[in-house]
Amino acid sequence: MLQLGVAEPMRECEYSQISTRSSTPMETPYKKRTPKKRKWQAFPGRNKFYCNGRIMMARQTGVFYLTLVLILITSGLFFTFDCPFLSVQLTPAIPVIGGVLFVFVLGTLFRTSFSDPGVLPRATPDEAADLERQIDVANGSSSGYRPPPRTKEVVINGQTVKLKYCFTCKIFRPPRASHCSLCDNCVERFDHHCPWVGNCVGKRNYRFFYMFILSLSFLTIFIFAFVITHVILRSHRQGFLNALKDTPASVLEVVVCFFSVWSIVGLSGFHTYLISSNQTTNEDIKGSWSSKRGKDNYNPYSHGNIFTNCCAALCGPLPPSLIDRRGFVQSDTPQPTPPTNGITMYGSTQSQSHMAAATPLMQSEPVILTDEASLPGRTSLGGPCSGALPLGGQPTPPTSTPNLSCDNGMLPTRNDHSEAHHHFLTPEEAPSPPGMLPCGSPLGHSHTIQGFYNPASQDSLHEDSVRGLVKLSSV
C-alpha cells in the first residue's frame, strides 16, 4: 500500500475560487496560522483514508491484502509458467485474454475497495435538533432517557416501508439504507460489508463489486481450465508425474482456483439474482420482500422486468459522493454531531464508573479547542499517529484517545494519569489485532478516534481530568 506523507504542511490561507461546494477562505487573520483541515481528517466514521482523502476503506484491511495477494500470485504464476507453453502450443490469444481479465479484475477490485460506498454524512447539529423537536412533539414528552426506537412510515409504490432513526448519525435513514457497525456509517442502499474488499458495498460501488466477482469468476475458471489443459498436454509427452515436476506452480494454481471457484461463482450467481430482482443482500436475508411474509408483499423498488433492473443497477447514473472527503473543513459550517453513544461505547469495565462520573465534570469545561492554533512542534506529532481529530465541539473524556500509546513517548508533559489511560480501551482498539493499532498503521491515516481537535490541547484537558478524578476520589 502507498505510504503517504503526513498531514498537509501548514501554508498560507489563500483566496480560493468561490463556489457553492468548496470552502470559503478564512477571513480572520489569526486563523491564517492554522493549517486547513480536510474533511476526511474530521470524518466521524470508522474509516481509513489514504492519498489525502482520495481513497477510502474500512478499518480492517487485512483480508483485502489477502485477496490481492491471492489474485496476484495465482495470476503471476499463470503468466510466468503456463502462458509461455500455452501460447506456443495453442494460441497467443490465451495470455492476451488472461491479461485483459486480470487487469479488469484488479481495476474493479480497487474501484470497489477505494471508493465511497454511499456513506450518508451525519446530521448537522441544527438538523438533529429540529428532528428531536419534531419527535418530541409527536411523542408528547421530552424525557432525558433514551426513548424507544423512532420510526417513520412511508408508502412507496403501494408498500408501507418503515424508516428507522439512526441514533449514531441522528437521521432517519432513507429506505434501503443501513448502518454498518464495522464502519460506523449509514450507507445508502446498503448491501453488506465485505471484508474481502475491505469496504462496505453500497449504492455507489455495488456495480464495481458485481463486476469484480463476475470477472474474477471468469478469471478463476479461465486459469483453472488452461492450467489443466497445460498439464494434460505436457502429460501426453512426458507422462503425468514428469509434467508435474516441470510445472510445480500449476499444482498451486489448480488448488487455489478449485477452492475459489465454488465460492466466487456461487457469489456471482447470487448477486446476479439480487440484481435482477433489485434487492440488496440485507433485504434478501431478512426476507423483506418475500411473498412468504404476506400475499401483498412485493418489492416496491423493482422496475418490473429483469432487463431494466439489471440495466439500472449496472449502467444507471452513478451518484457522486456525499461526504466530500477532500473539501476543507469550514470553521463556520456546522460540524456533524459526534456520536453521543460515547459513554456506553467504551468497553473496559473498570473505567466505566470513572468515566461516567468524570464526564459531567468534563462537560462543564467549555471546549474552545477548535480555536487554538496548532503549534508547529505539536503538529509533528500528527506524523506517525495522526490520530487527534476534531469531532464537533463536544468534549469527550481524555481516555477516549487511543493514540495515547504512541503519544506517550512524545509528549513529555503528560502527567501520571496517562498511565491509567492505557487501561481504557475503545472499541476501535479492542477488537483489532495489534497490527492495526494506530501506531502500526502507515502515515497519513485518519482514525475514528473521539479525541480532541489538537494534540496540544490534550494537556490542558488532562489537567482538568486530573482535577475531576481527584474530586471523585475525595467523595
Binding site: Q17, I18, S19, T20, R21, T24, V103, F104, G107, R111, L120, P121, A123, T124, D126, E127, D130, V154, V155, I156, N157, V161, L163, I171, P174, P175, R176, E188, R189, F208, M211, P300, Y301, T308, C311, A312, L314, C315, G316, P317, L318, P319, P320, L322, I323, D332, T333
Partner: protein
C-alpha cells in the same frame, strides 16, 4: 455573480440566524431524490407559498433528470465500463453536470428571491441530500455587510 454571493456569505456573519427550517425528502416514489413540496408553516410570513413551491418543484425536476435512466445514461455507463472507468478522469458524469446546474440555480434563486426576504437556501448536496435547509435571518439593525465594495450590498437589505 461571485462577489454577490460573497456578500451572502458575509451576511451570515453580520446578521443572526433566527431559525432554520428544513424541507425533508419525499420518499413516496422510492429512493430517487425528491423533496417535499409541502410548504413549511414557519415560512408563512416570510415568503409567498408559490415561490418556494416552484423552487422545490424545479429542483425535483432537475434531480429527476440527473437520475433518469434513459439511453444517454446507459451509454455513459457502458462506455465507462468499457474504458475501465478511466474515462471519468477526463469527463464529468451527467449527474455531476446536473449538480452543477442545480448549484447555479440555487445561487440564482437565493440572489433574486430569497436573500431580499432574509432567507437563504442551502444546496442539499451540502447536507447529504437529506434536506433543503432554509436559513431564516433576523436583521440586526443597520449592521449590514460592509466588507466588500460590491454593488449589490444594498440588495440584501431586509424588507
Amino acid at each position: 455573480m461571485s462577489t454577490e454571493f460573497h456578500n451572502l456569505q458575509e451576511l451570515r456573519h453580520s446578521v443572526s440566524v433566527a431559525t432554520k427550517v428544513f424541507i425533508q425528502r419525499d420518499y413516496s416514489q422510492g429512493t430517487t431524490c425528491r423533496f417535499q413540496t409541502k410548504f413549511p408553516s414557519e415560512l408563512d410570513s416570510r415568503i409567498e407559498r408559490t415561490l418556494l413551491e416552484d423552487t422545490v418543484k424545479t429542483l425535483n425536476s432537475y434531480y429527476a433528470e440527473a437520475e433518469k435512466m434513459g439511453g444517454q445514461s446507459y451509454m455513459e455507463g457502458c462506455l465507462a465500463c468499457a474504458t475501465a472507468y478511466l474515462i471519468f478522469l477526463c469527463m464529468e458524469t451527467r449527474y455531476e453536470k446536473m449538480l452543477k446546474k442545480i448549484s447555479g440555480y440555487i445561487q440564482e434563486q437565493n440572489e433574486k428571491i430569497y436573500a431580499p426576504r432574509g432567507l437563504l437556501l442551502t444546496d442539499p448536496i451540502e447536507r447529504g441530500m437529506r434536506v433543503i435547509e432554509v436559513s431564516v435571518f433576523e436583521d440586526r439593525g443597520s449592521s449590514g455587510s460592509s466588507h466588500s465594495s460590491s454593488v449589490s450590498s444594498g440588495g440584501i437589505s431586509q424588507r
